[in-house]
C-alpha cells in the first residue's frame, strides 16, 4: 500500500517502439498533456495576467502579481530562507545534514567553497535588493503611487541591510547541503561516537539558529511600521513571505514529529511476529481509510475548553483552568501530525520489512549497542523509506488549508489558505497563480535535490 513517490527504475525489456507501441502510449501522453502540462501552462499565463474589477482574467501582460511579494528589501533573503527551510525540513532536520557538514569540514576546500557560495548569494541578494528598490521603483508602477517616498525607501533599505547578513549561516547550510547532495551523494557513516556527538551538536546548533532567525524576522516584521511605503507593498510584500515561512515551519515541524513518532512504530510493526504484523498494519491503515476531515473534526470535540481532554483533566483534579487548546496553533499541529502520520509509517515500514535481519544481528553479535546498531546499520538501510515518508508528509502539509480552517479557527493564514482565498473569496486568480508558481518551483527544486540524494543512496547500498 505504501507508495513511494518517485521512480522505480525498472530496467525494462527496452524494445524499439513501433507504430502500435506509439498508439498505446498515446492515451498516457494525451492525458499528461491535457491535464498536467496544459493546466500548468495556463497557470503560468494567469500569473502574468491582470484581472478586472470583478476578478475576470484580462489578457494583459504584467509582472505586478509577482512584484506584489517579490519586491522588497527583505524579500529575497526570506525567499531563500523559505527555500532553505524546505530543504532543511527535507533533510530530516539534521542527521544527514550533519553528515554532510562533517564531510565538508574534512578538508579546507570543502570549507571554502560553501563559504564562498554563501557570501556570493548574500552579495547577489543585496545587489538585487538595491536594483529592485531603486531601478524598478523609478521606472515601473511604483512611481505611479503618489505616496511613494524614495528617501524613506532608501532609509528602510539601509536599516534592513544587516538582516541580509543574518542570512549568512543559513545560506551556508543551504550551499553546503545542495552542493554535497549534487556532487557527493554518498555520506560518511557515523560509527565513531565522537563524530556522532559533533554531528548532533552541529545539527542542534543549526536547528537553534534556524529558530532564532525565524524569531528575529518575526519580531522585526512586527516592530517596524512601514508607513511611508506604498500600500500595495506594505500589504503583501513581507506578509506574504512571512506566511510562506510560517507554513513551511508548520509543515517541517509536523514532518519532524511524524518521523519521531512514526519510525519506532514502523520498526515495531516491521519486526513483530508474522501473525501480529498484518493486524497491526491494518490498525494503522483503518484510520487512513476514513475521511481526514471527519477525524480532524473529532479533535475539536476533544480539544475544546469544555471538551473531553479538559474536562477529564479537571475532573482528575490535575488542572483548575482549562487549557486553551482550540482553536490554537497547537491544535493545528496536532491535526497535521494526526492526518499525515500513516503516510510516514507506511513507507518506513516497507523499508524496514525489507531490512535484512542478519545484518542487524551481525551488528549485535559484534557487540554493538542498540544505539550504535541503529545509527550504524538500521537507519542507513531504511533511509529511503524515511525520505519517501518525508516527501509524502511534507509536500501535502505545506499546502494544507482545511486542517488550519477547522482547528485553527482561521486565526492564522497559511499559504494554502491564502492561495485558496485568491481563487475563491478574493477573486485574484493571477496573484494566486503567482503564489502557486513560486511554491511549485520550490517543490521542483526540492524534489530534484532529494532525487539526487536518493539516487546516491541507491548506489551506496
Amino acid at each position: 500500500m505504501a507508495a513511494i513517490p518517485g521512480n522505480i527504475d525498472t530496467p525494462g525489456i527496452g524494445r524499439k517502439p513501433g507504430v502500435l507501441a506509439w498508439l498505446l502510449l498515446a492515451p498516457l501522453l494525451v492525458w499528461l498533456l491535457m491535464f498536467v502540462i496544459l493546466p500548468t501552462i495556463i497557470m503560468i499565463v494567469f500569473s502574468f495576467s491582470e484581472r478586472n474589477e470583478l476578478g475576470e482574467i484580462v489578457n494583459e501582460l504584467t509582472l505586478a502579481n509577482y512584484r506584489r511579494f517579490l519586491t522588497f528589501p527583505q524579500m529575497l533573503p526570506l525567499l531563500i530562507a523559505t527555500g532553505i527551510a524546505i530543504v532543511a525540513g527535507m533533510l530530516a532536520a539534521g542527521i544527514s545534514l550533519a553528515q554532510r557538514c562533517l564531510s565538508v569540514l574534512a578538508g579546507p576546500i570543502g570549507l571554502i567553497v560553501p563559504l564562498a557560495i554563501g557570501l556570493g548569494v548574500i552579495l547577489a541578494l543585496i545587489g538585487i535588493d538595491y536594483i529592485t528598490m531603486h531601478h524598478f521603483a523609478a521606472t515601473f508602477d511604483f512611481a505611479k503611487i503618489a505616496s511613494y517616498d524614495p528617501a524613506a525607501a532608501k532609509a528602510s533599505f539601509l536599516s534592513d541591510l544587516h538582516l541580509n547578513f543574518l542570512m549568512l549561516p543559513m545560506c551556508l547550510i543551504l550551499g553546503t547541503s545542495v552542493m554535497w547532495s549534487l556532487i557527493a551523494p554518498s555520506g560518511i557513516e557515523l560509527h565513531n561516537p565522537r563524530k556522532l556527538i559533533i554531528a548532533c551538536a552541529i545539527s542542534t546548533a543549526a536547528g537553534v539558529f534556524y529558530a532564532a532567525i525565524n524569531l528575529v524576522l518575526l519580531v522585526h516584521q512586527r516592530g517596524v511600521e512601514y508607513q511611508s511605503m506604498p500600500l500595495h507593498i506594505v500589504a503583501t510584500g513581507p506578509q506574504m513571505l512571512r506566511i510562506f515561512m510560517v507554513s513551511v515551519n508548520y509543515a517541517a515541524f509536523a514532518t519532524a514529529i511524524c518521523v519521531m513518532m512514526g519510525y519506532p512504530v514502523a520498526y515495531f510493526i516491521g519486526k513483530a511476529p508474522d501473525r501480529w504484523r498484518n493486524l497491526l498494519l491494518m490498525l494503522v491503515m483503518i484510520p487512513f481509510w476514513t475521511s481526514f476531515l471527519v477525524r480532524t473534526y473529532a479533535w475539536v470535540t476533544i480539544l475544546r475548553n469544555e471538551g473531553v481532554l479538559n474536562s477529564l483533566l479537571i475532573n482528575l483534579g490535575l488542572i483548575t483552568e482549562p487549557f486553551n487548546l482550540y482553536p490554537s496553533q497547537t491544535a493545528v499541529m496536532i491535526g497535521l501530525v494526526y492526518t499525515y502520520l500513516p503516510f510516514m509509517i507506511l513507507p518506513i515500514y516497507t523499508s524496514i520489512e525489507r531490512l535484512d535481519n542478519a545484518l542487524v544481528e551481525a551488528a549485535f553479535d559484534l557487540g554493538a549497542s542498540p544505539l550504535r546498531a541503529f545509527h550504524g546499520v538500521i537507519f542507513p538501510l531504511t533511509k529511503p523509506g524515511v525520505v519517501a515518508g518525508i516527501l509524502l508528509v511534507f509536500v501535502p502539509a505545506v499546502g494544507m488549508f482545511a486542517v488550519n480552517d477547522i482547528l485553527g479557527g482561521r486565526q492564522e493564514m497559511l499559504i494554502g489558505n491564502v492561495i485558496e482565498r485568491q481563487f475563491t473569496a478574493a477573486r485574484d486568480k493571477p496573484f494566486g497563480s503567482a503564489l502557486g508558481m513560486v511554491l511549485l518551483v520550490l517543490f521542483i527544486i526540492t524534489y530534484y535535490v532529494m532525487n539526487r540524494r536518493r539516487a546516491g543512496a541507491g548506489e551506496e547500498n
Binding site: 518517485g6 525489456i13 524499439k16 491494518m282 475539536v300 469544555e306 542498540p370
Partner: protein, 349 residues
C-alpha cells in the same frame, strides 16, 4: 535488547491509541442526544433511526423515478448521437408512463416492507423548527456519499487501466525521452494538492470554453472531478505495477508468443495474471485516494456533484449530530471491507 523491544511496543500502543482516540470519540458522540453540540448530553439512538429512515425514504423516491431516469438517460444519449426519432420516442414514453416500472416497484415494496414509514416516526422526536433542517442535512450527506462512490468507481476504473497499460508499455519499449516521461508521470504525485486543484480550475475556466465548442463540455462537476481523480491516482497505480514488473522475467512474454499467442493475448493471459496482486492493490489505492480526496475536488466541484468530504467540510462548522452518524457508518463499512478482504485472503491460502 529486550528492554528496547518493550519500549518500542509501548510506544507503538501509545501511537495507535493516538490514532484511534478521535475515532472512538466520533463513534461515542453519534449516540449523543444534543444536536449542533460538542458537549455530551444523553444517550440516544435517534440519529441512527433518523439516518435509516431518511435513507429509506430517499431510496424510495429514487426508485419511484428510476425507470424514467433510465429512459431519459437513453434519450439524452440518443440525442447526442443524433438519433432524434429514438430520443423523442423515449422522452415521450416517459411522459405517457410516469409510474415506476416493475423492477422499481419490487424495490419500493421491499423498502415499504422494511418499515420505512414507521421509521420516519423518529422525526417527530426532533423539534419541528429544526426538523426540515435535520432531514436536509441527512439528504445532503447521503447524496455526497453516493457521489463519492460513483466518482470513486469510475475514476478507479480509468486510473487502473491507464496505469497498468502505461506501466507495461514503458517497461516493454524504450521510448525516446524516457526519463522526461518518467518525471512527468511523477509530477501529480509530488505536486501539492492545492496547486493541482487551482491549476485544474484554471484549466477548466479557460480550456472548458474551448472544448465546449467541439461538443465536449468540460465544466466543474462530475466530469472535471473524475478527470482530476484519475490524474492524481493513476501515477500511484503505475508505480505499484512497475514495482511488480521489476521482478518479471522479460522472456515471459516472448515464451507466450513463441507458443502462438498474439501480443494482446500474451498481455491478457500471461502478463495481467502475473500483475494481478499489484493491480488489486492499485485498485484499492486509487479508490481510497478518490474517496478521501478533499483539496483537489474542492476546486473543481459544483453543487450537485459535491463528494462526501466536501459535504462534510460544509457541515463541520454547524457540528450536526448527523455528521457523527455518517462517519460512524463509513468507519463501519471500512471495517467490514477490511475484515472481508482478510477473510478472503485466508480462505485463498
Amino acid at each position: 535488547m529486550r528492554r528496547v523491544n518493550w519500549m518500542l511496543g509501548i510506544w507503538g500502543v501509545v501511537v495507535i491509541l493516538f490514532l484511534y482516540l478521535p475515532i472512538v470519540i466520533l463513534v461515542a458522540w453519534s449516540f449523543n442526544d444534543m444536536n449542533y453540540s460538542t458537549q455530551w448530553n444523553e444517550f440516544t439512538t435517534k440519529w441512527y433511526q433518523a439516518f435509516w429512515a431518511q435513507c429509506a425514504l430517499d431510496l424510495r423516491d429514487w426508485f419511484t423515478t428510476a425507470g424514467n431516469r433510465f429512459m431519459l438517460w437513453g434519450a439524452d444519449w440518443a440525442a447526442w448521437i443524433k438519433l432524434s426519432g429514438t430520443s423523442s420516442w423515449l422522452s415521450g414514453y416517459v411522459q405517457n408512463n410516469p409510474q415506476p416500472g416493475w423492477v422499481s416497484r419490487q424495490f419500493i415494496k421491499l423498502i415499504n416492507w422494511a418499515g420505512a414509514d414507521s421509521a420516519a416516526a423518529v422525526f417527530d422526536q426532533i423539534p419541528s423548527s429544526s426538523r426540515g433542517q435535520v432531514r436536509g442535512q441527512i439528504s445532503r450527506l447521503i447524496e455526497g456519499l453516493t457521489n463519492s462512490l460513483f466518482i470513486g468507481v469510475i475514476s478507479t476504473f480509468f486510473a487502473v487501466i491507464l496505469g497498468t497499460v502505461s506501466a507495461w508499455i514503458t517497461f516493454k519499449y524504450k521510448y525516446p525521452l524516457h526519463n522526461a516521461l518518467r518525471t512527468l508521470v511523477a509530477v501529480p504525485m509530488i505536486v501539492p494538492e492545492i496547486i493541482m486543484g487551482v491549476s485544474l480550475l484554471s484549466f477548466i475556466t479557460i480550456a472548458g470554453t474551448v472544448f465546449a465548442k467541439v461538443g465536449i463540455p468540460i465544466e466543474r462537476g462530475y466530469l472535471a472531478i473524475i478527470i482530476a481523480h484519475v490524474t492524481f491516482s493513476f501515477p500511484f497505480v503505475m508505480v505499484t505495477i512497475q514495482a511488480r514488473l521489476a521482478g518479471i522475467d522479460p522472456a515471459l512474454e516472448e515464451a507466450a508468443m513463441d507458443l502462438g499467442a498474439t501480443p494482446s493475448m500474451a498481455f491478457r493471459k500471461v502478463i495481467v495474471p502475473y500483475l494481478m496482486p499489484a493491480i488489486i492493490s492499485g485498485v484499492l489505492m486509487a479508490f481510497t485516494l478518490s474517496l478521501d480526496d478533499f483539496v483537489v475536488t474542492y476546486f473543481v466541484t459544483d453543487g450537485g456533484s459535491e463528494t462526501l468530504p466536501i459535504r462534510i467540510y460544509g457541515a463541520v462548522k454547524q457540528r450536526p449530530a448527523m455528521l457523527h452518524v455518517v462517519s460512524t457508518v463509513m468507519i463501519g463499512i471500512t471495517l467490514v471491507m477490511v475484515v472481508l478482504s482478510e477473510l478472503i485472503k485466508r480462505f485463498n491460502r
